[in-house]
Amino acid sequence: MGPGLRIFGWVFILLLLWSCEQAADLGLDTPEPRLVVIGVFAPEEGLKVEVSSTRSALADATTTYLLNARVELFQGNALIERLEPADVQAGRTPFYISKNFRPIAGTEYVLKVQAPGFKPVEAQSAAPVLVRLNTAEAALVGRKPSEESGMDDCTYEFRIGFQDPAQQKNYYHAHFYLFTQPETGNNGNTSGGQPEVRRVIFGNGLNTNYQIAHYDGGLLLDDQPFGGKYHTLRIPVTLRMRNDQQAPTTMVAELRSLSPEYFQFYSAVNRQRGNPGLPFAEPVILFSNVKNGAGVFAGYHAHFLGAAVQY
């Protein structure tokens, strides 16, 4: 290769490497901060609403929670209750809470929030009719010693069964909790502690179009594959247990029947969080039913059923 060609080559590569990344100047307008409202409710529970504001996607992750907002709940045009800021411990997320409100399934509620410096927002939702769990089971299907001394890896299949209501679209959030009682002493008395509670958490690898792992536990389900039929959800779970385990453990299943807003918002949030972060990945678009703002106001209806865990 002659010197001229070599120089061309160096220049070529120098420029190639120089090209990689550059801070963007897209001329995009910085959007005005919007109110963010996160509020979910269920019959027999009150309503808690977090009110914060949006921030730049490039800013540090400090969230501004608003405690001077006017948070009101309506049924139609009738004011049901004005929510007040709750007393929370330092470091905890501040929120507004209802004192008297007990939602009724199937009733549409409207949440209106105003705060100085922001456009007022409103959202509406209803808690769906309860879908009851018919069966709950924690069946031991395999057991083998683990690499950890004195411990076994126990494979279970957690099963819950329920009748999906026909002729309507339904969404669910299935949770599994394990309650393990403290060990009893030789005299038969318990050690006196609180039961240990563990949640079953699923990885994003289980995600499909109609099943999304919730980052805080459980699975979000769309009834598309089993719409209108009796459905048994089977979850393989591996638990590491002491091989002389005596303390009784109970699996408690929670089945939340969801409003569409609940499902769409949290499935998008969880998909975005579970996005593998590959450099070219398409972003996940969020859902919001909060007009002029962001977040969600959504109802659900929960039913619980427990079953003993075999050893």
Binding site: V36, Q264, R271, V284, I285
Partner: protein, 888 residues
């Protein structure tokens, strides 16, 4: 009849015949200027004693404006009586003008044969065969064959092909005639440099666009190598990502909606380096046909376009070789006869040279960023062809293509952080390591047999094999070594191994029947066996890694059969009309389920003048393979998946109308409008990557595209130029993307303008330039962010980013200027040599490939903070290019 009788008969008739001959040969010098036909005939009687007999009532009213100079009376009468329904005949010493007597239709004969390059024996695709006296002609097919029904007699046939000398051949046609017409090259002063630009980069034939490989070589080059696909990018209605990355997108279609063929075999990944170069070696390409709307029924299987590339068959007359070295690519080729005039071979090889520079520079670049490691990338491709002429009417050809790309990127980095927070001192080392491997291999093979079964019947039989293998390996490892406040180690790693394959084995046979002047009937059958093997071999992510388990997924294979049949008719009618109609029947069998589709094709043409044409078409195309892209830009890891019950075959209806107009002797314009309605498009659901099981993570939706395409061309001896402009819209709607709402397709570019110029500055130098401007891609950029905590479920708050509706933002407009220059050097030791210089992206436009949010950790005021920025990732800045070619 005995010989005496014959003599007396001849003796009686011959004087009469000679007498009539003499009168009809009488020379006429006359000017008719606004003269009625009757008056013109009387003038011939009066002035030239023409013994004309006619009935005044039978003469139509017709004014004559013509001058004759020493023209035989016969031709004068032929001219005056044309289009009158009258004829003349010699009857009893008189020339009787009478109504045309019905004549029996002449028994038609057929001139058929091949159009070939005289120097190499290559058969020429889409060459013109024309008989001026009959005002009829035809075009050679994809294999150089032509067939033309003609009446018996003496005819003059003209053959022409771009870049070749026009040839005139006199024929006496008494019976069906088979000819091999060998054309001499005219535009090539030597084998390296074309110095006459009197031909266009594109030529059009009833909606098909033929790319000119000779002209293509003179366009500005990237890294010193020309590329056919870059010429495709210049066409209206064709779009691509920055620097060609991601493939090409035709009239709102996806990259996977293009049927790309090499010698009839489909190519599933037609790109090197993600699209910067294509798999087409410019040394081997003989012809390239591009279709985007008026699809003949013989094509099927894709929704948006067909790029049908035929490689050269090899020189059967003489040995020929070349070598070409540029900054980025080395190529060499050889071809020659095995048996002179009977069989030939062709071998061509290309290899990238980027590693010469990339490896040392990537090491230095990473070192400057505190990393150790290097990047490597290279590709090669090999084309080979053998052909045998078994007989005058039979030819066998075997074509082989294989190409491979290999990318490897490794790096490690160690950072030390010390900071105080809440009165405590924190110290830790962060070790980050990664390795990314990606390689893909393409194979396309075909065995072709062509046979002229009858002067009007041509058979083409093809066996094909195609395969695409993609392998990706990913490993990343982040380890935190804490020293203070207490020693600890936190390690996360991610390992992945991914392999996918698609493989086709096919057989097809087509028949082509020349029914009448300019009219053809084609029919054919094909059957294909398909194998799809998408799979993640093993994948660990940080969650599983923490508990020491790994997911080992092995997605199932699919075996599918497809079969199709077609019939199509090109039928001229009236003086200026042609109707092309046909039906493509297709079927697909997978998982015990069979899909079938009728795909009607209809195109109507009206020839307004020699260079002006109107076109209308309505077509339906069905595609049984989906290209699923888990990325914002097209990557080799995009997965070819079969149509199944969960992802039914996609289809599109396209209606288009257009016109070609000759604006001047060498200037023409083409304007087309179209509307496309896509159904059952498949895509990954939102938030899914290629590592997920595609069957459980796809969503099926719809799309629409519409717009206008304009193409202006000018050809000339010195200057050739082309301009294309598209005004278009493209939409998509999927239930599981963008919350089910319709959104703009990424390539929904409102404006797309392209210019290309070639200027011949003399016998040695050709300058070239291209410039393109396009509306920025539709993308989803972050609008803002907020925090989500969960009510009733304990857990930490998470930050989510709101991108607004999908693709509601626009990247900056894309534009780029490329310049090139080709110089013919004096021969070296008898070898022809040339030099090509170029500058890519002359004014260094930073066209972003994509945008991302980049996070960096930094110590700010003694605190560890995360800094985020939106960065555009650009690929190619201003780049000089240089290549040197030798040919012998």
């Amino acid at each position: 009849m005995n010989r005496k009788c014959l003599f007396f008969l001849l003796a009686a008739v011959l004087p009469i015949a000679l007498h009539s001959q003499a009168i009809l040969d009488r020379r006429i010098d006359e000017v008719f200027n606004h003269v009625a036909l009757e008056a013109a005939l009387y003038r011939l009687i009066d002035k030239y004693e023409a013994p004309l007999v006619f009935s005044n009532d039978a003469l139509p009213s017709k004014d004559i404006y013509v001058s004759f100079r020493s023209t035989p009376l016969r031709e004068v009468l032929q001219y005056l009586l044309q289009d009158t329904g009258l004829e003349f005949a010699w009857v009893q010493d008189r020339i009787l003008i009478r109504r045309n007597a019905p004549k029996p239709a002449p028994v038609m004969r057929t001139i058929s044969g091949y159009l070939e390059d005289a120097a190499t024996g290559e058969r020429l695709v889409s060459g013109t065969v024309w008989i001026p006296a009959l005002q009829t002609g035809t075009v050679s097919n994809d294999f150089g064959f032509f067939s033309l029904p003609v009446p018996p007699g003496i005819l003059t046939l003209e053959a022409a092909f771009i870049g070749y000398q026009h040839q005139v051949l006199p024929f006496e046609v008494r019976k069906d005639t088979f000819v091999q017409i060998r054309l001499e090259r005219s535009l090539v002063l030597d084998e390296v440099l074309v110095t006459d630009l009197d031909s266009s980069l594109f030529s059009k034939d009833h909606g098909a666009i033929y790319l000119n490989p000779l002209q293509n070589a003179y366009l500005p080059q990237l890294g010193g190598t020309s590329d056919l696909l870059r010429t495709v990018h210049l066409l209206p209605g064709v779009q691509t990502g920055a620097d060609g990355v991601g493939g090409f997108f035709v009239r709102g279609g996806n990259a996977g909606h293009n049927l790309v063929l090499i010698d009839g075999a489909p190519v599933y990944n037609y790109q090197h380096a993600g699209g910067i170069w294509s798999v087409f070696n410019p040394e081997t390409v003989k012809s390239a046909k591009f279709l985007r709307s008026e699809f003949p029924a013989r094509y099927g299987g894709r929704l948006s376009s067909v790029l049908d590339v035929r490689n050269r068959d090899g020189n059967d007359q003489a040995l020929q070789a070349s070598a070409d070295i540029g900054l980025s690519v080395f190529s060499a080729h050889a071809e020659g006869p095995l048996v002179k005039g009977k069989s030939a071979f062709l071998v061509a090889y290309r290899r990238s040279l980027l590693n010469w520079f990339l490896r040392p520079y990537s090491r230095d670049y990473k070192a400057s960023n505190g990393e150790t490691g290097e990047s490597q990338y290279q590709f090669y491709d090999l084309n080979a062809k053998l052909r045998w002429t078994l007989s005058e009417r039979d030819q066998l050809a075997a074509s082989f293509y294989s190409g491979r790309d290999v990318f490897d990127n490794t790096g490690t980095r160690t950072d030390t952080f010390n900071f105080r927070e809440a009165g405590r001192q924190y110290s830790f080392n962060l070790f980050q390591g990664y390795r990314e491997e990606l390689d893909w291999r393409n194979t396309a093979q075909s065995l072709r047999w062509t046979r002229v079964l009858h002067p009007r019947l041509f058979m083409h039989t093809l066996a094909t094999f195609s395969r695409l293998r993609v392998h990706a390996g990913i490993s990343t490892r982040d380890t935190l070594f804490f020293f203070q406040p207490q020693a600890a180690v936190i390690a996360n790693w991610r390992l992945g191994e991914y392999l996918s394959q698609i493989q086709d084995l096919g057989f097809r046979t087509d028949l082509e029947w020349s029914v009448e002047k300019g009219g053809t009937l084609r029919a054919g059958l094909s059957v294909n066996r398909h194998l799809f093997q998408p799979g993640v071999l093993a994948f660990d992510d940080e969650d599983e890694a923490a508990s020491g388990t790994a997911i080992a997924l092995d997605f199932r294979d699919f075996r599918a059969w497809s079969a199709s049949a077609f019939a199509e008719r090109e039928r001229p009618f009236g003086r200026d009309w042609r109707l092309d109609y046909g039906m493509h029947l297709s079927s697909w069998q997978v998982d015990g389920k069979t899909f079938g589709a009728l795909e009607p094709r209809l195109a109507l043409y009206r020839q307004m003048s020699a260079r002006s044409q109107l076109r209308f078409s309505l077509t339906r195309m069905v595609q049984y393979q989906h290209l699923l892209s888990g990325a914002d830009v097209g990557l080799p890891t995009d997965l070819w998946a079969p149509a199944t019950a969960k992802a039914p075959p996609a289809s599109v209806w396209q209606a288009s109308a257009g016109m070609d107009i000759g604006l001047g002797p060498r200037i023409s314009a083409s304007l087309d409008s179209y509307y496309k309605a896509f159904s059952r498009l498949a895509a990954y659901s939102e938030g899914v990557s290629f590592l997920d099981d595609w069957e459980r993570n796809i969503t099926v939706g719809e799309g629409a595209a519409y717009g206008w395409d304009l193409l202006l061309t000018k050809s000339g001896e010195r200057l050739s130029a082309w301009t294309s402009y598209s005004l278009s819209w493209a939409w998509r709607q999927f239930p599981l993307i963008n919350q089910g709402e319709a959104f703009p397709f990424k390539f929904d570019r409102r404006h797309d303008l392209k210019l290309a110029v070639l200027y011949n500055a003399g016998k040695r130098i050709v300058f070239s330039g291209t410039w393109g401007y396009a509306t920025g891609l539709a993308v989803s950029l972050p609008v803002d962010a907020f925090t989500v905590t969960f009510n009733g479920v304990p857990g930490g708050p998470v930050t989510v980013i709101d991108f607004g509706p999908k693709n509601s933002s626009r990247l900056p407009a894309h534009h780029r200027l490329d310049l090139g220059m080709s110089i013919r050097l004096d021969p070296l030791w008898g070898l022809q040599q040339s030099l090509r210089l170029g500058v890519y992206n002359v004014y260094n436009r930073r066209n972003p490939l994509y945008f991302k949010i980049k996070s960096d950790l930094a110590i700010e005021n003694g605190r560890l903070v995360e800094r985020k920025s939106l960065v555009g990732v650009q690929l190619l800045p201003v780049l000089p290019s240089l290549s040197y070619a030798l040919r012998w």
